[in-house]
Amino acid sequence: MIRTVVVGCWLALTAACGEAGPARDVSSMAPSPLKSGYEFLTPETQALQTDAFANPGFLWVDRGAVLFADAREGSPACASCHEANGEALQGVAAHYPAVDETSGRLLNLEGRINTCRERHQKRDRLDYESDDLLALTAYVAGLSRGAPIAASVGGPAAKYAERGRDYFYTRRGQFNISCNQCHNDYWGQKLRGDTISQGHGNGFPAYRLEWQSIGSLHRRFRDCDAGVRAEPLEYGSDTYVALELYLASRAEGLLIETPAVRR
């Protein structure tokens, strides 16, 4: 009797059973082999991403470089603390999200940039998804283009990674589907006109043809949540930042592509 239950559970409800089990190691569930969203694009879209001139995401990177050098009376430029051309920040984005030592909070790149604005520049925070914050984030992430993702999920980051993992494995919305079901169980398969990728964040902020603009990873999360008819979370919400960390842990070693081009 018990045996039938276990077998039934194994066949029909693998995902649900996995959630109940004791496996809490946040990095053990990475899809294999790891594939960037780039590999699921058409050759034309791939060519647009790799052409450093034609890739429209670079319009934002260029703007980010200008903002990075913007010094004002009593408020130094990013470049005054992080070197001209952002040299001191090369490779940094590959370690994000990361816990801020001063506040103990988990910050993604957007959060870090806004923290520097408040703490070190005495300027207001930029609105999430504003053109300027996207530009600065694309610029800073672009400084790590080609660097392998290596976010820390130990120590103070562990509880956040776990929270992100929970979000990833929880079914939600009217369709009652989890991120895991699409991006772990069905990557490579078709969903309407799209090929489902493994759901990595290594290209963000990314230029999506559908958006006709660059957008943050949280905008992508909101689209995926809305796609299963769940209520999307706020831009910059702690849960989305934690989800970003979990995605980074499951994408460890994948190269940063910002600004990527996506369908």
């Binding site: 001139f53 034609a54 429209p56 319009l59 260029d62 006709q212």
Partner: protein, 106 residues
């Protein structure tokens, strides 16, 4: 402020066919879309692009609502003399954005 990216050679041989690329950031709002409250989003597009070589038009394009946001053009011209290439976009309401590039021939 419009963001523009130009790719053009700095030098060329006389008579050489050179490739020019021009990208501008613009929403190219078609005027056919509706916002979340059902209101029509007004048309907001660039209508013409010109490339001038020492003041003479060597390439021209008309844009319509179906052109994508952030339009990107690649075209060619013949390098004849040292001079200035001007890339110029004109908005439906007459506003002009332009950028120049110096070309040395010889």
């Amino acid at each position: 402020m419009a963001r523009i990216r130009i790719a053009a050679p700095d030098t060329a041989e006389p008579g050489e066919i050179i490739e020019l690329k021009a990208l501008i950031q613009h929403p190219m709002e078609s005027g056919f879309r509706r916002g979340s409250r059902g209101e029509v989003i007004p048309r907001d597009i660039i209508t013409t692009f010109e490339c001038l070589y020492d003041g003479e038009v060597v390439f021209e394009a008309e844009f319509f609502p179906a052109v994508s946001a952030n339009p990107f053009l690649t075209f060619h011209t013949k390098a004849t003399q040292t001079g200035t290439l001007e890339f110029r976009w004109t908005h439906q309401d007459g506003e002009i954005w332009s950028q120049t590039h110096a070309l040395t021939v010889g």
